[in-house]
C-alpha cells in the first residue's frame, strides 16, 4: 500500500515536472524543473530496489548534467529577454505526434503480457558490479573511450580561437 502511494506520488511529481520542462517560458526554470524530474526518477529507482542507480542518478544527472545545463543557459545569456521565442508555432502538430505516440505505445503496453520472468530475484549492486567488470568489460572500456572522445570533442568545439588576422572570424 505504501509502495503504491509512493509510486503515485513520484509519478505525479515526474509528470508535472516534465510538463513544466517543455512548457516553461523561462529557460533557467525549465532546467530546474528538469532537475526535479531527474530527482523523481532517482526516487523511482530507489522504489524499484536499485539504490546504487538512484545514487548515480543524483550524482551524474542532478549534480553534473543540470549544472552543465544551467551553465550553458547562463553563458549563452539573454535568459531574461529571449524567453518569448523559445517555442515554435506548430504546437498543434507536436501535440498530435506526441499524443499519437503515447496512444500507440501505451496501447501496446496494455495489450502485452509481461509475465515472463528471466531471473527470479532483482539484481543486487554486487551483481551489477560483477556484470559490469566481467560480462560487459569490453562495453565498459568502449564506453570510457566514448566519454573521452566526447569530452575532447566538446573542448575542440567550444574552444575560443585566437582572434585571427582579420574578421572572417568563423572558425573552421
Amino acid at each position: 500500500m505504501t509502495f503504491r502511494l509512493g509510486f503515485g506520488l513520484v509519478a505525479l511529481v515526474m509528470v508535472v515536472a516534465a510538463y513544466m520542462v517543455v512548457r516553461s517560458r523561462n529557460l533557467v526554470r525549465a532546467v530546474l524543473w528538469l532537475a526535479l524530474t531527474l530527482l523523481g526518477t532517482a526516487a523511482l529507482y530507489a522504489l524499484l530496489d536499485a539504490p546504487f542507480l538512484a545514487g548515480v542518478q543524483v550524482l551524474t544527472y542532478v549534480g553534473g548534467v543540470v549544472t552543465l545545463m544551467i551553465f550553458g543557459v547562463m553563458v549563452t545569456g539573454r535568459h531574461e529577454g529571449a524567453v518569448a521565442e523559445i517555442d515554435s508555432a506548430d504546437r498543434i502538430r507536436g501535440l498530435l505526434v506526441a499524443l499519437g505516440f503515447f496512444g500507440l505505445v501505451s496501447g501496446a503496453i496494455l495489450k502485452t503480457d509481461f509475465s515472463a520472468v528471466i531471473a527470479p530475484r532483482p539484481p543486487s549492486t554486487a551483481e551489477l558490479a560483477r556484470s559490469l567488470l566481467d560480462d560487459y568489460l569490453l562495453a565498459f572500456e568502449v564506453t570510457s573511450l566514448l566519454l573521452l572522445a566526447a569530452v575532447v570533442g566538446a573542448v575542440v568545439l567550444a574552444r575560443r580561437r585566437d582572434p585571427g588576422p582579420v574578421g572572417e572570424g568563423s572558425p573552421r
Binding site: F7, V22, V31, M69, A82, I86, L146, L157
Partner: protein, 98 residues
C-alpha cells in the same frame, strides 16, 4: 507497483519529451527535452531489471554515459552557435552547414 504502471509512466514522460523536441526552438530547451526522453528510456530498463530480471541495470549505466557525452557535445555546439550568431535559436543553425 506493477510493471505496467512504471512502463506507462515512462511512456508518458517520453511523450512529453517528444512534444518538447518537436515544439522547442531554443537549443538548450531542445537538449532538456532530449534528456527527458533518455531518462524515460532508463526508467524502462530499471523497471524490467527489477521486476523481471535481466541485465538492465548495467545497460542503464552505459546509457547514462552516452547521455552525458551527448549533453557535453550538445552544449559545445550551443556555445558555437551562440558565438557565431549571438543567439541560440535553432533556426540560425540552418545556415551553419557548409
Amino acid at each position: 507497483m506493477r510493471l505496467t504502471d512504471v512502463l506507462l509512466l515512462a511512456t508518458l514522460v517520453f511523450s512529453i519529451g517528444l512534444y518538447g523536441v518537436l515544439t522547442r526552438r531554443h537549443a538548450v530547451a531542445l537538449l532538456l527535452s532530449i534528456e527527458l526522453m533518455a531518462n524515460a528510456a532508463n526508467v524502462v530498463f530499471v523497471a524490467f531489471a527489477t521486476l523481471r530480471g535481466g541485465p538492465g541495470e548495467a545497460l542503464v549505466l552505459f546509457a547514462l554515459v552516452v547521455t552525458v557525452s551527448e549533453v557535453a557535445v550538445g552544449l559545445a555546439l550551443v556555445m558555437l552557435l551562440y558565438r557565431r550568431h549571438g543567439d541560440t535559436v535553432l533556426d540560425l543553425a540552418r545556415e551553419t552547414k557548409h
